[in-house]
Assembly symmetry: C2
Homo-oligomer: 199 residues x 2
């Protein structure tokens, strides 16, 4: 009953994360109603994503001719300082603070179970080899820049155990009351952390 | 900070209904991580939507060489019987019942205010002209196949008033307890309709 191009689009896009078949079908009809120029713009935007490559050190997506991304190929960056993050957008947020001069290992989103996926295990192995080869066996610091949630804490604890021998110190991001937040509305855990980490 | 192709994709896709900038950005990174072949498949799926055309009578999206879609060009269909629908997928659902032998006017999603958009007004005008020219001024029946919600009722009432002189009868879809549903869980309105429409 559905025209073939609608079906094909829906099937392809429903495979992407956070898009269901129903939403994909409605998107298809919407896009079909756009002008030829608008449709070309969308197709070109996708094709252009194919020009991006993955940094061979940190696994970030980057637009460059070399193997390394702009951060990993920057000689002023401290290679002994490594932040492990889940998402590309987390790197962008951390870079915006201009408070971090190391490099990142992009791990991908972590499972609630604390178990690493095959690809994530490979990335951790890759990090271990880098530390052995380039840093003489010990990084100065590994920051586990993972969300401070119950599952994040579980994953961080497991990663910490695994990486303990490879860094002088393993840290996580500070916790406390967010800037602009009010003590009245902070939950007990956050407030507890804020007291302990007072300065 | 974001690579250019990621930014462009996010901007283009965030303009589509039900996709926000945040979701579009995450989609972009995901698609960038796919193989060249998978990226080409997605781009091709979009390009193929450009081959679809809009039926000049009912405004459905269709894949054909003529001006009219398969339903509107079918000589066994009763042109005096018209169902006004909001969505393409509603047409598909109604066709699946095999209980309707007329044709559809695709109006697009209606506003909660009951006001028609410019394009929707044009489609109603187009319907009026069709009835004047092809049906001698009166359709046999116009079914307002609009969702039985508060806003749907408002829109249907306004459309009914507007179309009253153009059809022998104007109806809406029957209401009652859905097949498989239980009286115990039916709301008062539905049950009231079910009693009135008993047969």
């Amino acid at each position: 009953m559905l025209p073939d191009p609608i079906k094909k689009f829906a099937a392809a896009f429903a495979q992407l994360p956070s898009i269901g078949l129903r939403q994909a079908t409605r998107l298809a009809f919407h896009i079909a109603s756009l002008s030829k120029a608008q449709i070309r713009e969308l197709a070109d935007a996708i094709t252009a994503l194919g020009t991006l490559t993955t940094c061979t050190r940190c696994f970030r997506t980057h637009l460059g001719s070399g193997d390394l991304c702009a951060i990993c190929s920057d000689p002023t960056r401290n290679t002994g300082l490594i932040a492990i993050v889940e998402k590309e957008t987390d790197i962008i947020s951390l870079e915006k603070t201009r408070k971090f001069n190391g490099w990142y290992l992009l791990l991908g989103e972590l499972h609630k179970s604390g178990e690493l996926e095959h690809e994530q295990k490979l990335r951790i192995e890759h990090l271990k080899k880098f530390i052995a080869k380039e840093l003489g066996g010990k990084a100065t610091e590994i920051i586990l820049a993972i969300n401070p949630t119950v599952y994040g804490d579980l994953n961080a604890a497991l990663l910490k155990k695994d990486l303990e021998p490879l860094a002088q110190t393993i840290t996580r991001l500070g916790r406390g009351i967010p800037t602009g937040g009010e003590i009245e509305f902070a939950d007990e855990d956050t407030l507890g952390e804020a007291i302990e980490r007072r300065k």
